[in-house]
């Protein structure tokens, strides 16, 4: 029995690991019933894999049996792999016992489609329900909904899960029809809209009545696979933007495509596009926390993110006319746009300048990366940047290759790979 469960766990964790989401934040479930667990606010990474990713949740599939045949997926029907399936009780037992030992923040459950979408979804819901009602479990539960599952089951899942997600996976309808012929965009967008409306309605009811059962209080998220199809970065961030604006998503995850099959419809690459994925996350960040609009970062003339430098620096280099910015007088929003100044140092700058005039030395102590920032800022005449006199290429070269290059080993390695791949 032990060997069997160990084997199942290795197969079903292995099959789930390509899902990038591991966040356990945003939960609002307090331990008020003297039960097990508490998931208020900030998530915790209990461990890190050897590839440096956060391990926060027990991320598994209920089963990797699947009736669909999506080209990019290890679990697809036509792939000759070892299959396994957990029982409802096995998942519950694992979750509770991992949680009690402080290994995890909770469960991230998804599944291949066994028998039918509703058959599978019903089991996912049953697991979440059992954890909440029989075990008084207040840890985090993220359920990835099954494409094609009924509205009622998704609704019920939202009562027990903190977060629901519907993975879009392929960033365009065209890619979807070629690579996942049994799926369609409508089937993805309809449940997304349903979850969005459920969350909004739940918030409204909460405002009116005290005791309203929670509905996916940590919001919904999705994942896009990058590099399995031919979309440009512009297409991807436009899609992301519409998901944040139109569907109220909490997070969009990007998963650099890792070759799992030699299907002829897929690009033949040997390495996942880690840098491209990283640049997309940076862009996502700029849109969510730095007040950037999608079309400020990319436009049809520049449809791809610069792999060599981060998107904020790239924006600054194209918009040299708005610099230098005076840190002693400029608005917070402008200070945020200086390359080398993060949200924390920007806040500190605005706070500290009430006490004293800032100079380069104080900026350095506040955590500003001067190597980059010095080209773009001024401190009441004490420091005169030369941005006006340099061309884009000159600044770029000085930042990339100047004394103490900011180019990390990772970038160098990846750029070499890209040179070969594209």
């Amino acid at each position: 029995m032990n060997e069997r469960i160990q084997e199942k766990l290795s197969i079903l964790a292995d099959a789930a690991k390509y899902d990038a989401s591991c966040s356990s934040s945003g939960g609002k479930r307090k331990n008020e019933n003297k039960g097990l667990g508490n998931s208020e606010g900030m998530g915790i990474c209990h461990s890190y894999t050897e590839d440096g990713r956060c391990v926060s949740l027990l991320k598994i599939l209920l089963t990797n049996h699947c009736i669909f045949d999506c080209a990019y997926c290890v679990s697809r029907r036509s792939n000759d792999v070892k299959r396994a399936a957990f029982t409802v009780d096995e998942v519950v037992d694992l979750t509770i016992n991992f949680y009690r030992r402080n290994y995890i923040e909770g469960l991230f459950l998804s599944s291949g489609i066994f028998s039918s979408p509703d058959y599978t979804m019903e089991r996912l819901v049953r697991i979440a329900k059992k954890l909440r009602t029989e075990h008084k479990f207040n840890g985090y539960i993220h359920v990835k909904t099954i494409p094609g599952a009924s509205e009622e089951l998704i609704q019920e899942a939202g009562l027990y899960a903190d977060r629901l997600s519907v993975n879009i996976e392929l960033p365009s309808e065209l890619a979807l029809t070629t690579l996942a012929p049994e799926k369609n965009y409508q089937e993805i967008l309809t449940p997304m809209a349903q979850i969005r409306d459920g969350i909004i309605q739940n918030k409204e009811e909460k405002a009116l009545f005290k005791k309203v059962p929670a509905f996916a209080t940590a919001g919904q998220s999705t994942q896009l696979i990058v590099g399995a199809s031919t979309e440009t970065d512009l297409q991807i961030i436009k899609l992301t933007d519409s998901l944040y604006q139109g569907y109220g998503l909490k997070r969009v995850y990007y998963s650099g495509y890792i070759p799992v099959t030699d299907d002829a419809r897929l690009p033949q690459v040997t390495q996942p596009p880690v840098i491209r994925e990283h640049r997309l996350y940076q862009t996502d960040w700029l849109m969510r926390f730095y007040g950037f609009q999608a079309d400020e970062i990319l436009d049809p003339a520049h449809p791809h993110l610069d792999l060599e430098i981060d998107p904020k620096l790239a924006w600054a280099l194209r918009n040299r006319h708005v610099f230098p910015v005076d840190v002693n007088t400029a608005e917070y929003e402008m200070i945020l746009r200086i390359p080398g100044v993060g949200t924390r140092s920007a806040k500190r700058i605005v706070a500290a300048r009430r006490f004293a005039t800032l100079n380069l030395e104080t900026l350095r102590q506040l955590g500003v990366v001067l190597k980059r920032a010095k080209f773009f800022l001024t401190c009441q005449g004490e420091h005169q940047p030369i941005i006006g006199e340099l061309s884009e290429q000159q600044v770029r070269r000085q930042i990339l290759f100047g004394a103490g290059s900011v180019r990390s080993a990772l970038v160098t390695q990846q750029l070499d790979l890209f040179a070969q791949a594209s």
Binding site: N2, Q6, L9, S10, I11, A13, D14, A16, K17, Y18, K30, N31, K34, G35, G37, N38, I44, C45, H46, S47, Y48, T49, E50, D51, G52, R53, C54, V55, L58, K59, V74, N79, D80, V81, K82, L94, N97, F98, R100, R101, N102, K136, I258, V260, Q271, P272, V274, R348, A352, R354, F355, A356, T357, L358, N359, E361, T362, Q365, L366, L410
Partner: protein
């Protein structure tokens, strides 16, 4: 708060000007004792209340500290005998409450956190910060131009990180009598700060977290969490209780956790530098997933059709 006209700065207000920056016109708080007596060396019992008692004495005697040290480890000078202050609860409470007149609760808590950081210069740093706060007419917690303010922020941040790490890296083992037991060796004294987190989270199981470096622990008995001291008996380590009577399913869950850890890894993305930055080597000792495996790791290798051989080794 204080609307009286600014006073000319006295010599005792040294350190008030942020260095590395031109000073902006700052109002001064009046009514704070000027420390006119010759500076002294102080010792205390090593507790936070003890330190607060010293602060009380400093203003009572008007004698600035040239050093404040825990008595047990104090380096005494050749000529001057340090003034030792016994902890005085009433005086400590007066200082603690009084701090709220010059700073908010968050800033005050930060001073306690800095104390828990066990940083070598923490006592004088806390004194200088309190003194600066007393003499300024407004909240100094965001005055990043001052080196002391930055240092306080930095230490508090480091402590917060260590606290967060312990909330993540504690690994409980279940004993036969249903106690969940963990040993830690944090860099800083974070047990007082993680108590609330674990009490809320594990309300329905008895647990014990033992700080092996500082020889004390937290024990939750299903009703309340207490600080417990251990007197290790001769020849026996205080942490040995776990080794003897583990729950029969404990080895199974440890194995399953290791299995899970090995299989969520994506070898194509291997990045050990990042791995170690997030999970520094010094914490590995108590992380069950970083212990040697009893079985050899067998990759699932789902990209190629598996043969029975690579699923069932040997």
């Amino acid at each position: 708060m204080d609307t009286s006209p600014p006073q000319p700065p006295s010599p005792a207000e040294r350190g008030a000007a942020p260095e590395g920056a031109r000073e902006v016109n700052q109002p001064r708080r009046v009514g704070v004792p000027v420390l006119t007596a010759p500076p002294r060396d102080y010792t205390y019992d090593g507790t936070f209340e003890g330190l607060l008692t010293v602060l009380f004495t400093v203003y009572d005697w008007r004698a600035a500290p040239s050093s404040i040290q825990p008595e047990a480890t104090a380096q005494t000078g050749l000529f001057a005998q340090p003034a030792h202050r016994e902890t005085n609860e009433a005086q400590a409470a007066r200082v603690w409450d009084g701090l709220l007149k010059t700073m908010d609760r968050e800033a005050r808590a930060r001073l306690y956190h800095v104390f828990l950081s066990e940083d070598a210069g923490r006592e004088l740093l806390i004194f200088r910060y309190v003194d600066l706060a007393l003499r300024m007419a407004r909240d100094i917690s965001e005055n990043y131009a001052s080196a002391d303010v930055r240092r306080i922020q930095r230490l508090a941040q480091q402590l917060f990180r260590e606290k967060h790490r312990m909330e993540a890296f504690v690994r409980f083992e279940k004993t036969q009598d249903e106690l969940f037991h963990a040993t830690i060796e944090p860099d800083m004294d974070v047990l007082p700060l993680i108590a609330a987190h674990f009490t809320k989270r594990y309300a329905d199981q008895r647990w014990l977290i033992y700080d092996r470096r500082r020889h004390y622990g937290l024990y939750y008995d299903l009703t309340r969490t207490d600080v417990v001291q251990f007197e290790p008996a001769a020849g026996q380590k205080a942490t040995d209780i776990s080794a003897t009577v583990l729950d029969e399913r404990e080895p199974l869950f440890r194995l399953l956790w290791q299995t899970y850890f090995d299989h969520v890894n994506i070898p194509e993305r291997k990045n050990l530098k990042l791995h170690r930055r997030h999970m520094p080597l010094r914490y590995w000792r108590y992380l069950s997933e970083k212990q040697p495996r009893e079985q050899r790791f067998v990759s699932i290798d789902n990209k190629r059709p598996p043969t029975d051989a690579n699923l069932r080794p040997e």
